[in-house]
Amino acid sequence: MKNTSDQEILQLINNPKTRDVGFRQLIQVYQKRVYHVIRRMVLIHEDADDLTQNTFIKAYQHIGKFQGYSSLFTWLYRIATNETLTFLEKKKKRFFSSLDDHQEKLESYFDQPGQLSGDEIQILLQKTVLLLPKKQRLVFHLKYQEELTYEQIAEITGTSIGALKASYHHAVKKIEQSLNQE
């Protein structure tokens, strides 16, 4: 079910005279959620900024294909998560010719001052989540942090609910084990 705000935005976008106004509203309504879902995966602000901008640019280019079967936010999340996973895959593949390991760079990110509240549990938790395979990490963030339903996550990732439940279960188990060891 789309909410009124989505319908208003789509009406503005579908009218050539108000398209830009509607698109600006779309960005204003969803930018924070899109940015944070990306940032949790890539950690570094500059990367999250690039991917957030690319997400909205792709949305603008393909808004004509949006059928309205899902909400705008699940559609935007689908673009954002595809952009993010593609980015992480590229970083991983680049490693063979690169001097620095992207994963190590991300892990050391938490040790920099000012990135997190400094709470030891938070830092440990962030590091533990980072060790998960990236798709498990994405499911964990969408389910646990964003509190989306499995149905919504299935729409975003194009994956079956059963597979998502298994993925989430494994992610939680690994995180709990890791926290209990400390």
Partner: protein, 119 residues
């Protein structure tokens, strides 16, 4: 699940979300505008390139094929590695992106990789 606390959100720089819509819209406007300088530069490069090619093609075709043979020989004999060839390229990043993009088309939406296939 009670044992796991919620993760804190990372903070975006101050004023970031106030500027973001303008930045995105200005990128869209730039993309849609015809860039006459780029067109003029492209035409100039084509004209100069065509002239240079005309001038050199008479003598260089045999040199080029010899060079290609030599390059292939180095690669096939494994004297040069993939990293060597990339490092000699003017833009290795673009070549890598191209290779990765081709591979990603095959795996896009497959959701089948990672250490454990748990989807």
């Amino acid at each position: 699940m009670r044992k796991i606390p919620k993760l804190d959100d990372f903070q975006a720089p101050e004023g970031y979300f106030e500027q973001l819509p303008d930045e995105i819209i200005s990128r869209l406007t730039e993309k849609s505008k015809p860039n006459w300088i780029q067109y003029a530069a492209a035409v100039a490069i084509l004209v100069v390139g065509f002239g240079v090619w005309q001038f050199t093609s008479i003598n260089s075709s045999s040199d080029q094929s010899t060079l290609n043979d030599e390059v292939n020989l180095y690669i096939e004999s494994q004297y040069w590695t993939a990293e060597d060839v990339l490092s000699m390229s003017d833009n290795p990043e673009a070549i890598l992106d191209e290779i990765i993009d081709e591979e990603l088309i095959l795996m896009e939406d497959s959701w089948l990789e990672d250490n454990q296939n748990l989807f």
